[in-house]
């Protein structure tokens, strides 16, 4: 009989192959390797590319959750500029498509230490989630606070309707939606759980704060 976690790993692994094939083929179209696209073709192939990138990211996150939960995920800690883990054009295009704005209010040349694969997924997940949560016409902002021993990031967006008693729980794997107002506006996401696990693996952490008119994802990473 299959061990549940082993089966989960194999399914995710097998899904990553076709996802890689779809994404790679779309990239061939988009970079002009297969000839010039009309503006309409460009628009829809870009749309496909965005979907394939999200799919590949979800599968990577699920695989990392599986590895962390089974003790198989090792870290590869490197030093690199922030821009190496933030796909600015992809994220700004995602915001623009929904008539929303993303402001990266930080120096992308700032040096960071951490696992690049994990950080790329964390930024992509949280920033795409922020874009999804805000109403059209509004803005999400990323800020960076660099201290001597840790770097802290804040993603600020207009208030999301999470009841105060649930704020501490939304990063939990077993989080259940029980509040009627909450249920109508937001659903629990594997991405929150992934971000918490991945940050804690790097000895950092994440929390959500909610004020009257704003919400903030606040997360940090220790630095040497």
């Amino acid at each position: 009989m299959w061990d549940d976690k082993q089966l989960e790993y194999l399914i995710i692994h097998d899904l990553r192959n076709p996802a890689a094939s779809i994404l790679g083929s779309i990239q061939l179209f988009l970079d002009g390797s297969l000839g010039q696209l009309s503006p309409e073709q460009q628009k829809f192939i870009s749309n496909l590319g965005s979907g394939a990138t999200k799919l590949a990211n979800i599968l990577a996150e699920l695989q990392i959750i599986n590895f962390i939960e089974t003790g198989k995920q090792d870290l590869l800690v490197e030093t690199f500029p922030l821009q190496a883990v933030i796909d600015r054009p992809f994220l700004e295009a995602a915001a623009q498509r929904e008539n929303k704005q993303l402001i990266l209010n930080c120096d992308l040349a700032t040096t960071l230490q951490g696992d690049k694969t994990l950080l790329k997924l964390i930024f992509s997940d949280l920033l795409l989630n922020a874009i999804k949560q805000i109403p059209p016409g509004q803005t999400a902002t990323l800020q960076l606070l660099k201290g001597p021993k840790k770097v802290t990031f804040e993603i600020e967006l207009p208030a999301i309707p999470v009841p105060a008693e649930l704020v501490d729980q939304i990063f939990n794997a077993n989080f259940k939606v029980i509040h009627p107002e909450f249920k109508s506006n937001i659903s629990p996401a594997h991405g929150h759980y992934f971000c918490k696990l991945a940050l804690q693996k790097m000895l950092g952490d994440i929390r959500l704060e909610i004020g009257g008119t704003w919400s903030k994802y606040i997360f940090y990473l220790p630095q040497k």
Binding site: H13, D14, R16, N17, P18, A19, A20, S21, L23, G24, S25, Q27, L28, D31, S33, A56, A60, Q63, I64, F67, K72, Q73, D74, L75, L76, D115, T117
Partner: protein
């Protein structure tokens, strides 16, 4: 004459994709669909580089790499691993076994070509 790159991957669509990407830079690309075929073609064609999928049926990438490194006619051919796993442990193991580098699927085209150029230089 263009340098040969042998791709060994049991997923034909990934093989096709790698062929399109790598040949666009002028390399001569050969594709084998399993480890046994890969070993035969490596010995016969003497490629400048092998790109080897790690998880394959019958003979996985670790076994193929071991065979390549044990044969005098293939032991000096550099091998880049290709994996759908994001675990750095898997990549570390492959490099410790004699691989020169490792790539994860989905791969960034620029990263793929940079790694190839770094290992064997330009196509001609």
């Amino acid at each position: 004459m263009a340098k040969k790159v042998l791709v060994i991957d049991d997923e034909p669509d990934i093989g096709l994709l790698l062929e399109a990407r790598i040949s666009s830079k002028g390399y001569d690309v050969l594709v084998a669909q399993d480890g046994l075929e890969g070993l035969e073609r490596a010995a016969k064609e003497q490629p400048a580089l092998i790109i080897l999928d790690i998880l394959m049926p019958r003979m996985d990438g670790h076994q193929v790499l071991k065979q390549l490194k044990s044969q005098p006619e293939t032991k000096n051919i550099p091998v880049i691993g290709l994996t759908a796993s994001v675990a750095t442990t898997h990549m570390g193991t492959f490099i410790a076994e004699g691989g020169v580098d490792c790539l994860t699927k989905p791969f960034e085209p620029v990263e793929l070509l940079d790694k190839i150029t770094k290992v064997i230089g330009a196509a001609t």
